[in-house]
């Protein structure tokens, strides 16, 4: 099955449905090891000023196999549409493609998106030919709007970034999955493997996470757990689960019981 089950994003096929961030790791080698264990083929990065006084020798991208991995730059830290647009343009100019994880933050305590600014920035970036993956809250209406604008996917949050609360509102995620014709990627808030399994069982196409792996006591082991959790949830979704019932049904037949 997994042979057949391809995740297509922005016209490109992927085998893995887990997208991972590269923040908060001890060092670049741990980052690379975690990515490898996670099986991720798409990896998010942030765009930041070079430190002029000490540009440093080591560079994150040197640790990633760019022949195998798609780089997804984000606009993290941007609080206005124009900042996000400016950041996206710089990212593209650096020559790693037109994909961008659009984040326009509305509040620093929740890091929830600024919905109108996200829509505005998405419109501009789509017109400029970007493949826009917007981080957005779990609002079906906003997700539909972003899809109509031409975003390559919608990325509703499960819970606040880094909170580890898991899917706070499966109902909204379910509605977004049912209405969307572009991929639905749950982004942010995941805490552990069962959260990603649940996301995939709800019918999401992929999951994006960072802190849940980087912040675990053993990041490499958690990376593996997340890879397996995504596969488990995807297969369970495709396999078609049994219905829920209040009462029991025996799994062993009654005929032939000793009298």
């Amino acid at each position: 099955m997994s042979e057949a089950d391809i995740f297509e994003l922005a016209g490109k096929p992927y085998r893995s449905r887990l997208i991972v961030g590269t923040g908060k790791y001890r060092d670049f080698s741990q980052t690379a090891a975690a990515i490898e264990k996670s099986g991720a083929e798409i990896v998010t990065v942030a765009v930041r000023r070079v430190n002029i006084t000490d540009p440093g020798k080591e560079n994150l991208l040197d640790f990633l196999d760019l022949s195998r991995i798609t780089i997804l730059p984000n606009t993290a830290g941007c609080y206005t549409a124009s900042e996000a647009i400016r950041t996206a343009r710089l990212a593209r100019d650096a020559g790693i493609g037109a994909l961008v994880k659009l984040e326009v933050i509305g509040d620093e305590k929740t890091l929830f998106p600024d919905v109108p600014a996200t829509i505005e920035a998405a419109r501009v970036l789509v017109e400029e030919g970007f493949l826009v993956l917007p981080y957005v809250n779990d609002d079906p209406v906003t997700c539909k709007r972003l899809e109509d604008i031409g975003c390559a996917a919608v990325m509703p949050l499960a819970a606040p970034i880094g909170s580890g609360l898991g899917i706070r509102n499966p109902y909204n995620i379910r509605i977004i999955v049912e209405q969307s014709r572009v991929p639905v990627i749950v982004d942010a808030g995941v805490g552990t493997a069962s959260d990603v399994t649940q996301a995939m069982e709800l019918g999401c196409d992929a999951v994006l996470l960072n802190t849940a792996i980087a912040g675990a006591k053993d990041p490499l082991l958690m990376a593996e757990a997340m890879r397996l959790g995504v596969e488990a949830g995807r297969k369970a979704f495709l396999a078609g689960r049994i219905p829920r019932k209040l009462y029991a049904t025996a799994s062993s037949p009654l005929d032939g019981v000793l009298q």
Binding site: K24, V47, N51, I52
Partner: protein, 66 residues
């Protein structure tokens, strides 16, 4: 000549080009992008574009993020 580099004022010699600057900073081989006075500076312009007094330059690269 004073140029603002990534938010801080720097004294640079007259006529230094963006390529020169990147070379001095050891960023030639790096995956970076350059913004000059709020507009993206295309790679092909790096060699000829000489910096002028008052220019505002941003040089960015990719770091770990989620």
């Amino acid at each position: 000549m004073r140029v603002t580099l990534n938010g801080e004022a720097h004294d640079l010699r007259e006529g230094i080009t963006v390529s020169d600057l990147l070379a001095e900073l050891g960023l030639v081989q790096r995956r970076i992008a350059v913004e000059l006075n709020r507009a993206i500076l295309p790679r092909e312009d790096y060699p000829q574009r000489a910096l002028r007094d008052g220019d505002v330059v941003e040089i960015v690269h990719f770091i770990g993020g989620g």
